[in-house]
Symmetry: C2
Subunit: 337 residues, 2 copies
């Protein structure tokens, strides 16, 4: 490499971004040292993005930097935790200054906004791969898990689903979207907003929570499996953005509303939160949700009978398998995403 | 992928190895949750190994699994910390069962020996890359850093240096080593023993510490730079193994002892600890070192004059630059290791 690892770290990553008072040793030693708040548990998440697998190789480097952190902050939010520190293991084929500079800009834009300090990492030469790890804390015993949903619990989802999946499909099929909707949908794909404040606000309230990375149906499926329960979703309550409705509505590949909902339920990369709340806490919960700028909607209910059922607009029920959505999920999971 | 990410995790990584009582949530949720001992600081290290860059592609998968954890445990030891939890971000071109099974065997062999629990990770498809992160703890404020060495402090190194570098050179040049020495030297390259107990025993005693990954001269250089000091090393005190002496002595590429010492001082991958101790604590320190099975030797002294000087057998001094070793270090650093 023309530029050494040390030089790359010094130029683009060290002494940059927020400085937290709880960081004892940051970048530049054998390890990072941080101090957790008293009576807290440590939450750790890690996600790898591989060029050509998790993002198209032509993705702008600032978007890769932003998204590599965002997907981890989304996992942190799904634990009800407060993010604090990050490490970055960055493998690059060569030290391309323009690429590194833009990558770091995207990474720190989000890190600074969320108060996360980059405390360590490793820079290596090889095929472009980004592994970010975020450390967070929760008050002792308050991490929100995937298990613990009980029959009668209400199922909620933040924001809207399907936007990123629609944008990815347009990109892959080289379909040009109208500028206003296109900008919105591509921002949802490349610059997802981690629901950090929302996730933290839900601790002590949500019985289970997950972030939607593989699609609402698949990720809710993980909650159902871990909790040993089933659920019915009301399809007409699935929150769709105006841009999703406008673009998908005019897309002749989608014959009807069912096709559009299939994308919304099974496409990944939404990075919204899906969670359950006991019906007895509904009022307290919805008071809290009313302060969520991204919105939050009740979409169904947990039931004791296993499986995921979909209530259609006319009141009839489909099983996930009958609907064909399950097959979609399976395809996606087999890709090793 | 024929086998999904979920299947790979379930088969090879979940519910395996030691179970620590301080793990609240392990593999299988959005994040891992662990509980640190009271009044401790969290130490985090991360290292990436890329196939073809950090290890030859033909390296046995069990050795890749072992070493990917070992290099991180070595960093933990260099902070004086006690390792506890690990995450694994594994990128593989395809789900090769034999490879994954052997990789996991090597990884857990060392994890179990060190009492480290794998609590999370990410399995993705792409060029073979292994990023391991280890979390450890130290009593509050007791992490050992690279800065803090004072003139008069004695410089120590554990074990012996140069073994792994000699083995790598033999491998690269396809030189066949005598079986007994070869086995030893290749074990030093592929299965370094992290100096975990030694590192933890040095907290409260060592003023600085680093693990030797880039070569003794380069890594001691990091301590000198961070501490704003210089040092003189006694070349005849540099600890060499019997196998190193036997093999390097018969290797006609090395004309003299100087050439051999150059390998020992500049070759990487030793994963021994280099550290400094105030001269006033020498007796207490050497009592502790006498219990180190790997041995520990005083090799020099910290001085106020910047730079690294080498005292030869005849008492004359060379600067690192005069010796030509510095150039070696620089080459290595430019590879981005």
């Amino acid at each position: 490499m023309a530029m050494s690892e040390f030089e790359i770290i010094r130029r683009y990553f060290a002494d940059r971004g927020v400085r937290r008072a709880d960081v004892v040793v940051g970048i530049g030693d054998d390890g990072a040292v941080v101090r957790l708040p008293p009576d807290s548990d440590l939450v750790t998440v890690v996600d790898t993005l591989v060029a050509g697998v998790h993002f198209p190789v032509e993705t702008r480097p600032e978007d890769v930097g932003y998204k590599s952190l965002a997907v981890n902050l989304s996992d942190v939010a799904a634990m009800g935790a407060t993010p604090a520190w990050a490490t970055l293991a960055l493998t690059v084929p060569r030290p391309d200054e323009a690429w590194l500079s833009a990558f770091a800009r995207g990474f720190f834009e989000l890190a600074d906004r969320c108060g996360v300090q980059l405390v360590g990492g490793d820079t290596t030469r090889g095929p472009l791969t980004v592994t970010v790890q975020v450390q967070a804390w929760v008050p002792k015993g308050q991490a929100v898990r995937r298990s613990g949903a009980k029959p009668g619990d209400l199922i909620y989802v933040t924001g809207t689903v399907g936007d990123a999946g629609l944008a990815l499909r347009a990109w892959q099929q080289k379909i040009k979207l109208p500028a206003d909707h296109g900008d919105y949908l591509f921002a949802r794909l490349h610059r997802p907003t981690p629901r950090s404040a929302e996730g933290a606000a839900l601790r002590g309230l949500a019985t289970t929570m997950i972030d939607i990375s593989d699609g609402l149906a698949a990720d809710l499926g993980h909650i159902l499996e871990a909790s040993g329960v089933g659920a019915t979703l009301n399809l007409r309550e699935i929150p769709l953005s105006a841009s999703f409705v406008a673009v998908a509505g005019g897309w002749n590949e989608f014959h009807d509303e069912g096709d559009r909902l299939r994308v919304a339920l099974t496409a990944g990369d939404d990075y919204e939160l899906c969670f359950t709340v006991p019906a007895t806490l509904r009022k307290r919960a919805e008071d809290i949700f009313s302060r969520f700028a991204c919105g939050c909607r009740a979409i169904g209910v947990i039931e004791s009978a296993p499986g995921l059922r979909l209530r259609q607009g006319d009141g009839t029920l489909l099983s996930l398998r009958q609907s064909g959505y399950d097959h979609f999920c399976q395809d996606r999971r087999d890709e090793g995403q």
